[in-house]
Symmetry: C2
Amino acid sequence: MLNRRFAILTFVFFSSFWLSPLACAQSDPLPSWNDGATKSAITEFIARVTTEGGSNYVAPAERIAVFDNDGTLWSEQPVYFQFAFAIDRVKAMAPEHPEWKDSEPFRSIFAGDVKGALASGKKGVAEIMAVTHAGMTTDAFAGTVRDWIATARHPKFARPYDELIYQPMVELLAYLRANGFKTFIVSGGGVEFMRPWVENAYGIPPEQVVGTSGMVTYELNGDKPVLKKEAKIEFIDDGPGKPVGINRFIGRRPIFAAGNSDGDLQMLQWTTLNDGPRFALIVHHTDAEREFSYDRESQVGKLDKALDEAPGRGWTVVDMKSDWKTVYPAAKQ
Amino acid sequence: MLNRRFAILTFVFFSSFWLSPLACAQSDPLPSWNDGATKSAITEFIARVTTEGGSNYVAPAERIAVFDNDGTLWSEQPVYFQFAFAIDRVKAMAPEHPEWKDSEPFRSIFAGDVKGALASGKKGVAEIMAVTHAGMTTDAFAGTVRDWIATARHPKFARPYDELIYQPMVELLAYLRANGFKTFIVSGGGVEFMRPWVENAYGIPPEQVVGTSGMVTYELNGDKPVLKKEAKIEFIDDGPGKPVGINRFIGRRPIFAAGNSDGDLQMLQWTTLNDGPRFALIVHHTDAEREFSYDRESQVGKLDKALDEAPGRGWTVVDMKSDWKTVYPAAKQ
């Protein structure tokens, strides 16, 4: 035992001298990104804005970076994960709602036919969202989200949903923060759905999450104040709503933005079409084997206009298949 | 010259040995607060929540402190400063609006009769706010706020408005941050009106300001994206709206809250009526000489219900006259 410990200590001690090329490789802040133009574009931008005295230097307070979530920080196929959560909630709530048995979109859900439920259109989807996302306190809702994240499994990968986050993007977030950036999520997803788990997954605290939100009302019941979630949308943080949400919640114009769909187009425009150094990144889903492959024709995460606009605007497009060494982090157990 | 410099250096050097009681007094984090029960309540709370291993220890991430602005961090008499800004803007915009000359509430404003303008009621006030706070880009509006803060003077004190901030509260904010707190403004005032100057005044960055907001829309004009302010209220961050705003923008429940009026009542309830260590502070305006004296009957900053509720809830009430050594910071020049 002692010998083995000594051998390890010796190895650790000498490796710092002898294995310096390895040590350098290990200190790469973006180890899950393959070397190439995409990775270089990122690291060169960060070097430019953090070099004091340089013409592109940006003061730390102005280093605001915004990230879409669905399809940019975690997967979004075959359906948005928040919709998968809603489907599971409908099933869990079914015993208290015998009246759902015979009516759409619930009947399709109980029959395991998610496409059928979606076929009920906006009205059906709105009903699913309303019954699963309203009528309870914010605390109770956060509890159902935490339970679901802990227990649900993705149909293709059979892993918890919060393990289907993109390891290269988690590294990018940490790299930005290590360089003085404040990182925000700006997502079309529900803000109350994201906050319970994103801090642990991405290192982004709840107060740096901007998302779609429903109306909430305050009630004081005796000595117990609660916030109740109502079945009414308050703000849709998607498309042109993203720069609006950035202005409302952050109040500074970002210098770095990442997205993956046309819902991010206006956020990328707002971030980049301004003076000074600016950076925009689009995650292009090109990897059917390790993740999913989709863009212009997809129902979920459609990427069409933003992909056309990218070259002219100087936006960096990530080719998931060739730019990412790994997609997901290693399983936790 | 040399002798004098030597004498000063000698003094500084020896004072660290000989004048240690003075040195201690100088390291008081709240020098503008008189010693007494109010100051002790604050410092004892901070000691409790920051003592690792103590039963009341709170992890830094959960150390959220929220502050009302008008009447809590700066003065609000004789009219809310944002209304004074709006009045000045109406006067500045008058040459482009000859039609205002003969109609209320503008006629009263031009006659120097602010009370007359206010007598036009909600409709008149809404019109004043609409013409001065909408119809321009967010950038243009921020510019008018910065210009006004730089040039306008308060009628009673003849000082710039951002010098009528409360020195004891500025110290409290810094003291909280030095103890790992994240400090937020949660104000009924307009978020776009506060953000241009609060960072400099209080050390609170734009992304930590929650306030009342108007609708904003995104437009892309060629290669120039803008956000336009519309004459429509989006969110009123007052009364029961304050816990709603805290939930929407911060997403964590604060453990420390400060306010001064009934508009803060629900924020103080939401902050304190929960498990664990909690602290609420009410600034009571008792100092007619150095500031203003008002509470239950005031049109601006009415403090009635919250004052009644304070003793039973264990909220700390600041008596401005006796608790504060100074009210405002020294003039900048």
